[in-house]
């Protein structure tokens, strides 16, 4: 009888252990920091300390037919841009004050008038893959990130400022760049 009591202890330990180990960790939790987006804040070029909204902003990537979701003609003072993980540069078209007039001919696109000012920015970087966990696999971090604004003679972007201090972009908790306009 004494031995029966002895055996109860390992049984309890086993049950506890098995129930702990059975929790699922094959789903990547949202709270885990995975591949970051590039975060750009829009600031006022006349008053560099205050953020400034851009109106009717449309953002889409070069070679991408879709408009970046969340930027389908919106008013915003921050851009959250996903970068290509399989390339060393990503180009975005930032279209400010977007307007669209189909001249009452919805079927004929040749006489459509698209208003506003579009600037093309190219983000250059180096990538490195960092292991996160079995559920999330690897994430890409971006090193030596630079933004160049293509000069089209009528840029609404006046200047950019790099806040990364040449540190790699490993997460998207903080702003990485300012755009002054």
């Amino acid at each position: 009888m004494k031995k029966i009591k002895l055996i109860i202890i390992p049984i309890i330990l086993l049950i506890v252990g098995i129930s702990i180990s059975c929790e699922r960790d094959d789903i990547c939790p949202e709270s885990t920091s995975t591949t970051p987006n590039l975060i750009i804040d829009l600031y006022d070029s006349d008053n560099p300390d205050s953020s400034k909204n851009a109106y009717n902003m449309v953002v889409y990537g070069e070679d991408n037919d879709e408009i970046l979701s969340d930027y389908e003609s919106v008013t915003t003072n921050q851009l959250v841009l996903p970068l290509k993980t399989d390339a060393n540069s990503t180009t975005y078209i930032l279209h400010k004050d977007y307007s669209y007039d189909d001249n009452d001919t919805p079927d004929d696109t040749s006489d459509d008038i698209i208003g506003g000012n579009q600037d093309i920015i190219t983000i250059n970087y180096l990538t490195e893959e960092i292991y996160v966990s079995r559920a999330c696999g690897y994430k890409t971090i971006y090193k030596s990130v630079e933004i160049t604004v293509e000069d089209d003679g009528d840029n609404w972007i006046i200047s950019t400022e790099n806040l990364t201090d040449n540190e790699p972009i490993e997460d998207d908790y903080d702003t990485h760049f300012y755009i002054f306009h």
């Binding site: 031995k3 002895l6 960790d25 993980t85 696999g137 994430k139």
Partner: protein, 240 residues
Amino acid sequence: MTMTRIFTFFISTMILFCVSVNAQNDSIPKAVNDSLVIKQKYGLRIAGDIGKLARSFLDDEYTGFEIAADFRLKKDLYIAGELGFEEKSTVNDYLDINTTGSYLKAGIDLNMYDNWLDMDNMIYAGFRVGASTFSHDLNSFTVYHTNQYWEPQYSSDEVQEFSGLTAFWGELILGMKVELFNNLYMGLNVQLKTLVTEKEPDNFQNVFIPGFGKTYDSSSIGTSYSYTLAYRIPLYKKAK
């Protein structure tokens, strides 16, 4: 027709009766020994893990085998050990990993079952220390990105090898061994393990450790089970 059947039945019954009478005669000890001394067998018991063998055939992602041995030191105390190898694939949307390695475990088993007469069954608890050496092949991976605006994400098909890895753990075992035929045993046990140390690969993780099993991100606990078939090489007998 009916007569033939009755005759056949009669003959068969007779034969059966004779056989059973003979059998009964055999089982009666010729010399009646009145002493209550019951001798128990001591020896080396060697087991193969038929559970792992079956899983190797049934599970495409697993290959493994284990040889276990125990030696009876005292009436209820055994020293025991296991030696095995395992190969396991871990595949999800973002990772494709193949782990191979071998392991060694050593410790004691304590029988908690009071056997009746000369029966030799066990319900036991045991403790082991385990060591494993292994390597991972990362066959491919795809970068995880919550935003799928740019598709596809970077993926690598270049096999990366993480080798020379080791792990040590402690283990609690609970199981039973039943004597099916003379000296032939069937065993079943479950194991609860706690990882003590492991050599982690650079920019990667030990998702599976041979002998220890699947690891968990949130704890250092592992579990597994064994289903064994064993033969005891009887060396000597000792009074109970």
